[in-house]
């Protein structure tokens, strides 16, 4: 089994009497962009939170390669190779862009600094590791077109730049699967197009010399979704109602009824 295939198998999430996600199954193939779409309240973000460890699924299993994500505590999921962004941007606003990207490389730097002790005393291979981390951060700042803002506080960036920085930060953890929660929300058409390019480059491994990375995407902007997705999963009321290529989804009568809407006769 390829180690970056994400298998979501019968995942159910209940909050008390409310079933937010009801037995959803799909696979996200390695090297693909898989999109999850659906009307508001369909359970997309809940499913996302199950995959990224913020919720513990009531039933079902989630596997990334051989790793059972649904059994890992929150922070271990990132270490297992799942990077994520948030629907409402969650940057470290009082820290610079560069610092944000270095925090993302915490684990690697921490190991190199002998968990802080060696680095305080000025020993260890920490300086070399930090230089390497800064270079990686610089590469991602270039890839997201933020290099000249590197030393500005993340909170002072314009909205679109914050979205890009959050993606760069998630990528700095060195993920095998990148989960993007509505990355195009609030972007203008030109920014959306740039974002599509960036996500494609991340998938193909052509951005910042990183390894190719599968992408899981929640998005309402159909232009972006249909343009870049290799596969689309449609949720409605917590259940999967369709799955397939963009062309198949566009033609699916269930999806049209539930979400895309019919072209009204003029």
């Amino acid at each position: 089994m390829d180690e970056t295939r994400l298998v979501v198998d019968g995942v159910t999430m209940r909050f008390g009497g409310l079933t937010a996600v009801d037995g959803v199954s799909f696979t996200a193939e390695p090297g693909h962009i898989t999109a999850i779409i659906g009307p508001n309240g369909a359970g997309k973000t809940t499913l996302f939170n199950c995959i990224t460890g913020f919720y513990r699924a009531t039933a079902g299993q989630i596997l990334l390669g051989d790793t059972a994500l649904h059994r890992l505590p929150g922070h271990r999921i990132a270490l297992a190779g799942v990077g994520r962004t948030f629907q409402n941007i969650r940057l470290f606003g009082g820290m610079t862009c560069l610092e944000n990207l270095l925090v993302a490389q915490h684990r690697r730097l921490m190991a190199a600094s002998w968990f802080g002790i060696g680095a305080v005393l000025g020993l260890s291979r920490y300086p070399a590791a930090e230089r390497e981390a800064v270079e990686r951060a610089r590469a991602w700042l270039i890839a997201t077109d933020l290099l000249e803002r590197a030393d500005d506080a993340a909170g002072s960036l314009p909205y679109g730049a914050q979205r890009r920085l959050e993606i760069a930060r998630a990528m700095c953890t060195g993920p095998r699967l990148l989960c993007l929660d509505e990355p195009a929300a609030g972007l203008n058409p030109r920014e959306s197009a740039t974002l599509s390019e960036l996500v494609r480059a991340i998938r193909d491994g052509s951005a910042a010399d990183a390894d190719p990375c599968s992408v899981l995407l929640i998005e309402h902007d159909m232009g972006v979704v249909m343009g870049i997705s290799d596969k689309i999963v449609v949720l409605d009321h917590g259940a999967r109602i369709a799955m397939g290529t963009p062309a198949e989804i566009r033609a699916d009568p269930h999806v049209i009824a539930a979400y895309l809407g019919e072209d009204e006769p003029a």
Binding site: T52, F54, G74, H75, R76, I77, A78, L79, G83, R84, F86, R90, L91, F92, G93, G94, M95, T96, L98, E99, L102, V103, A104, Q105, H106, R107, L109, M110, S113, F115, G116, A119, V120, Y126, E130, V134, R138, L147, A150, D151, D152, A153, G155, S156, R169, A170, T173
Partner: protein
Amino acid sequence: MKGTALRDAGIAAAVAACLFVPIVGLRTEPGQTGALALQPRFGLVALLVAAVFFGRLVIIGWHSRRRPAAGTKPRFVLPEVGRYAAPALLGFALLLPFFPFTGRYELDIGILVLTYVMLGWGLNIVVGLAGLLDLGYVAFYAVGAYTYALLAQTFGLSFWACLPLAGLTAGCWGVLLGFPVLRLRGDYLAIVTLGFGEIIRIVLLNWTSLTNGPNGIGGIPRPSFFGLPFSSGNEPGSFSHFFGVEPSSVQRVVFLYYLILALALLTNWVSIRLRRQPLGRAWEALREDEIAARALGINVRNTKLTAFALGATFGGLAGAFFATRAAFISPESFTFNESAIILAIVVLGGLGSQLGIAISALVMIGGFELFRDFGEWRMLIFGGAMVLIMVLKPRGLVGDRTPTIALGARKTIDAGLISQGQG
């Protein structure tokens, strides 16, 4: 512009009049028959209202001058001054015992101020960097002090052997407190830490067989100069005999002064180094956004515990110093008031700012001593100064943040962008 200013000042004056007429304007005096007689003082009221009116005008004028129309934020000069203030303060601290005006009293104040500087810097790790509001910091100060006192009295261990042990014990208590409060945030965290501080004090008060309860522990051994005791007799093996100088009580005070200076600088050095390390950045990331930090693979539990442990360790070291300096400790010294003062130092100095905390400790502790002659007016001056700082610099004296690393030139980050932490 002028019209609105006048109207604003008029409203302020009207509010002042409403307040002052009953409070100041009407005064009751005992008359000849012993019954209270009303004595109006409207002249005074008019004076006060006029003062409010013109004071308000001055404030409005000052604000409009400070805020140019272009919407640029007014720059405060402290960061630029800060570049020279820190070395200047350090130089002053190092040379203090050698100034001609420095006597026993000045050295004692210096020791007191430096103790609070160290406590402020220690608490800063928890509150300023990790964003965890700790209202019971004095508990670790107490643990350190009692650890030293008890170890020295029971086992006869020397100060230098006890110092790291006191730090270690306090650090362990920091972890112990940390565990139950890991999931708490904001107000809840503050209340539990407050309770923890009180629990420690009450245990010290009531565990008479160990701590001698409210009577405290006396006769705590004084520190030696690396094995050479300070004594008034010039016997062989004492500090004065070894160096061939006249025995004097000032020698010990100078030594204590440099001891606490070294301990404070150690706290500062570790904080500054750690801030530039992954651990320090993880603390700040937790303060900014705990959920995002977790999504990046940061172990929130361990990172919080290290902050608690390290802050507590420095509190414990300061406590051991306190015990050896005072030679007597009792639970009286570790009340909530102390926690509040230390927290006030950190908040007024600016969360996360080493320089700001040092200045605010100097002002709060040193300044408080300076105004001793004012008697009861001292509290008024003190309170007024605190209100003034909070009005003019709501994020503390040095609220800005210097980035830990930069590709180009470091730009200070405006205080408004920095999160204060919720938990």
